[in-house]
């Protein structure tokens, strides 16, 4: 994938060398919590060791439930020789050293955190261990080879022992080693073992601090009425009623809306509701869901860009014994993170300070600087726990809004809090998509030709336009460019077609869109060929033994091919994504006029499982997110306005709707693959395929409820 910002190897080496500095007592890093220490901060390391032997990971990825705190701490702890359960976590500020090499920016997303850190953080731990051991050997005047480091102590064979904390200052003065040896996987004592999440106890006790919980002295609150049509502007405001409320401090037109700043949130919210705003709704004023669908369908007339090509698809389709064509569509979706968008901003003589939950601290810094009028170098981001990301917090709109409001009340920290309705109606929506597919079967029922076109909005064109080259957005081709099947003749295309509504990255991005279309259609092809869907796929996986293994295993685990209770059926889907292989079987049954989701069985092979229990957790979670995009949730527009607003009309899955979810984790690779998103994309096709197997009804659009398929 192309880099957004280029992270140089030199930066990384510099940071590795600086690990020594990270050992030093007094190495300057952001204070824990959000004490109002507003001096400039330059952190350039991941490991800090205090005199009391407390090891701290300066965590450069943001924790949103996907377990980066513990998974990344495991990488450091394994090589450093400390118990991961004793590692403290501090959230890193913005610094080039923390750029994600797989994405080219300081971003938490794309299921990249462990993949990016796999060598980097183990080297960070190993470098620190070598320096500590060297410091001990020098102190004792003994050969380095006679010393060993483990469990937070360096030991000499004579029985001498010193804690890492005692050695840290001396170690910090030593030159960093040119290279360090890393353990072989067979030597791991913590990676791959059962460990508890470092953040779990605090989260079970209300002690974890999310963006919404950030608190600084003198804090005031803001509520923002945004234009009901995205892209519109406030042209005039009658704020007389709002200003009459006791506690109101300011009313601010920031363009996309009008904010009330008040002493408490409830005052701000009431005053905001009392505003009388005149809007210029802008070009989106008449937009409807029907228009969006028509625009996408129209886009299919374009050739678009070639994603993947093999043999001669057109010729092979002409000579095929049998062809089959279908169209698939996916709906618009909000992210609906449980923590609504919010941001605490302070613009003062010291610069601009931002406390927020974000997946993109670097982007947060940019937008906060731009809208506060403070230089980026004097704009500091203090990332908090994220109360749900799912890609929504890759966008930084709310951070810019808080900065724009705060600059009008200098010296006052302002916490902007969106309502749930603000959040659903001012999202960057998962793109709607339209897909056309044609397959050609030979006389033996084998797939010999595949023609595919996906039409959708390009998120990347909006956010990182430099990454889109020759009309190819790499985030639209996920699940197509890496199609697991070896089809001898294939023509796969993508068409960027904007439809007038802003779109955003939504957990698993286009993997989910492409997988619904392709994996459902492959099920159609298997049935058309009179073949078993597992056998039909297996013969196309000759080049991917790991993918073949997960498919065979999921068939065995799910009872595929054996007798099922009457009124019960299975549906299958599989793919490679994020350098992991996975397959899913869904079991559904009849429950009166409705259907019941009985069970999801996942088999996943991420290569190496760094924190296996949390891989299971991420698959359980991905299953739930997948069910949200499959069953009944959708966003629709009328007159340019989003029609949904809260959890009554944008439903999320609840505990009583949960199927049993089983997860089998295989490890057949040399390095870890991504895991945070891999559970999502297969749910829609697996469930839709099961619905077909049970009812004979083929559903080609999401959510399933739009086709009258209702689950209990």
């Amino acid at each position: 994938m192309s880099a957004v910002f280029k992270a140089s190897r030199r930066d990384f080496l510099k940071s590795s060398a600086a690990i020594g500095g990270g050992l030093a007592v007094g190495f300057y890093l952001p204070p824990a919590g959000f004490a109002a220490d507003l001096k400039p901060v330059t952190a350039n390391a991941w490991v800090r060791i205090a005199p009391d032997n407390q090891v701290t990971l300066i965590c450069h990825r943001n924790e949103m439930g996907q377990d980066v705190h513990t998974s990344l701490a495991l990488l450091v702890a394994e090589e450093l020789g400390v118990d991961v359960q004793k590692v403290a976590i501090e959230q890193a500020p913005v610094d080039p050293v923390y750029i994600n090499s797989l994405l080219g920016a300081q971003i938490t997303g794309g299921s990249t955190s462990v993949r990016d850190a796999w060598v980097k953080l183990r080297e960070a731990g190993a470098t620190a261990r070598v320096l500590l051991t060297t410091a001990a050997a020098q102190r004792w005047g003994v050969p380095l080879e006679e010393c060993s480091a483990a469990h937070g102590y360096v030991s000499h064979r004579s029985g001498k022992r010193a804690s890492y904390g005692e050695l840290a200052e001396a170690a910090a003065g030593l030159p960093a080693p040119q290279s360090v040896a890393l353990k072989a996987p067979a030597e791991f004592t913590q990676i791959g073992k059962q460990r508890h999440r470092l953040d779990a106890p605090a989260k079970a006790r209300g002690q974890a601090r999310f963006g919404l919980d950030a608190t600084v002295p003198g804090m005031v609150y803001a509520s923002l009425e945004q234009c009901p049509v995205l892209g519109g502007k406030a042209t005039a405001v009658d704020d007389s009623k709002a200003r009459a409320l006791s506690g109101v401090l300011a009313v601010v037109n920031i363009g996309e809306g009008v904010a009330v700043v008040a002493d408490h949130y409830w005052t701000a919210k009431k005053a905001r509701d009392a505003l009388n705003i005149t809007w210029d709704y802008g070009p989106g004023a008449g937009l409807t869901t029907e228009q969006i669908r028509a625009t996408l369908k129209d886009g299919a007339k374009s050739d678009g860009a070639i994603v993947r090509q093999a043999g001669d698809a057109a010729g092979a389709l002409k000579s095929a014994a049998r062809t089959l064509s279908a169209e698939y569509t996916s709906q618009l979706l909000a992210h609906a993170t449980l923590e609504p968008m919010n941001c605490l901003a302070l613009v003062s003589d010291a610069g601009c300070d931002i406390w927020t939950s974000t997946q993109f601290p670097q982007g947060a810094q940019g937008v906060a600087a731009a809208r506060s009028g403070v230089a980026a170098a004097r704009t500091r981001i203090w990332p908090q726990f994220i109360g749900g990301g799912f890609g929504r917090r890759l966008d930084v709109d709310f951070i810019g809004q808080a900065a724009a409001i705060a600059r009008t009340v200098p010296g006052k920290p302002v916490k902007l809090i969106w309502t749930r309705e603000d959040d659903i109606r001012h999202d960057f929506y998962r793109p709607a998509s339209y897909h056309t597919l044609t397959g050609g079967l030979d006389a033996g029922g084998k797939l010999v030709a595949f023609d595919y076109k996906m039409v959708s909005s390009s998120i990347t064109n909006r956010m990182f336009p430099g990454v889109v080259k020759n009309d190819l957005d790499p985030f639209m081709t996920e699940g197509s460019a890496n199609l697991a099947y070896d089809v001898p003749n294939a023509m796969q295309r993508v068409v960027i077609q904007e439809y007038g509504l802003r779109s955003g990255y939504w957990r698993s991005v286009s993997h989910a869109l492409n997988a619904f279309a392709i994996e459902s259609f492959f099920d159609e092809l298997a049935h058309a060929a009179g073949r078993d869907p597992v056998a039909f796929r297996l013969e196309l996986l000759g080049k991917l033994p790991r993918q073949k293994a997960v498919l065979e295993r999921v068939a065995a685990e799910s009872g595929w091919g054996s007798a099922l209770p009457s009124g019960t059926a299975l549906g299958l889907a599989m793919m490679e994504s994020y350098e992991s292989h996975q397959a899913l079987v869904a079991r559904v049954s009849k429950s009166g006029k409705r259907l019941k989701l009985e069970r999801l069985v996942y088999v996943v092979d991420p290569g190496i499982a760094v924190h296996p229990d949390q891989i299971v957790a991420q698959l359980q979670s991905g299953g739930v997110t997948g069910l949200i995009n499959t069953l009944r949730s959708k966003v629709t527009l009328k007159d340019g306005r989003i029609e949904q607003g809260n959890f009554d009309d944008f439903p999320l899955l609840r505990i009583n709707q949960m199927p049993r979810i089983d997860v089998v984790v295989l490890q057949a690779g040399e390095k870890p693959g991504g895991i945070g998103e891999v559970g999502v994309p297969l749910v829609a096709p697996a469930v839709a395929n099961a619905v077909f197997a049970l009812t004979g009804k083929r559903v080609r659009s999401l959510p399933l409820s739009d086709s009258g398929i209702e689950f209990v």
Partner: protein, 156 residues
Amino acid sequence: MTTLTVNGKVLEVHAASDTPLLWVLRDHLGMTGTKFGCGAGLCGACTVHLEGAAVRSCRVPLAALEGAKITTIEGIGASKVGAAVQAAWDRIDVPQCGYCQSGQVMGATALLSGNLRPTDTDIDKAMTGNICRCGTYARVRAAIHDAARSLREVQS
């Protein structure tokens, strides 16, 4: 001025009488463990105990609370059931993003306070109002059963 008992402490609150308990706790009392999710009683992130019963604090105005006894996530661990629920949460590593978990723990504690042998149906009934966007439901269910078991062992 309204007088409340929160986690055993008697407190005086000066806030507009229509202020929801959620914002009284968060903004006036500085207790941020109770979360804002929907403002409409639809998600359960703001669940607290009012006179021992689970309520959605975003829907209870201060005016209705004179003399009320409230327990929040900050205080629930002081009760035997709350501590058992939190210990089960720790054993099973329930949280992911964690934002809903204060509400989940409060809901689970209310359930187990009246029922030490909850069936899956009891759990569905008690916990359906608590949305977990990450989907930790399987572990929420397992942890409630686990906490119930530990409480029964203490009893017997």
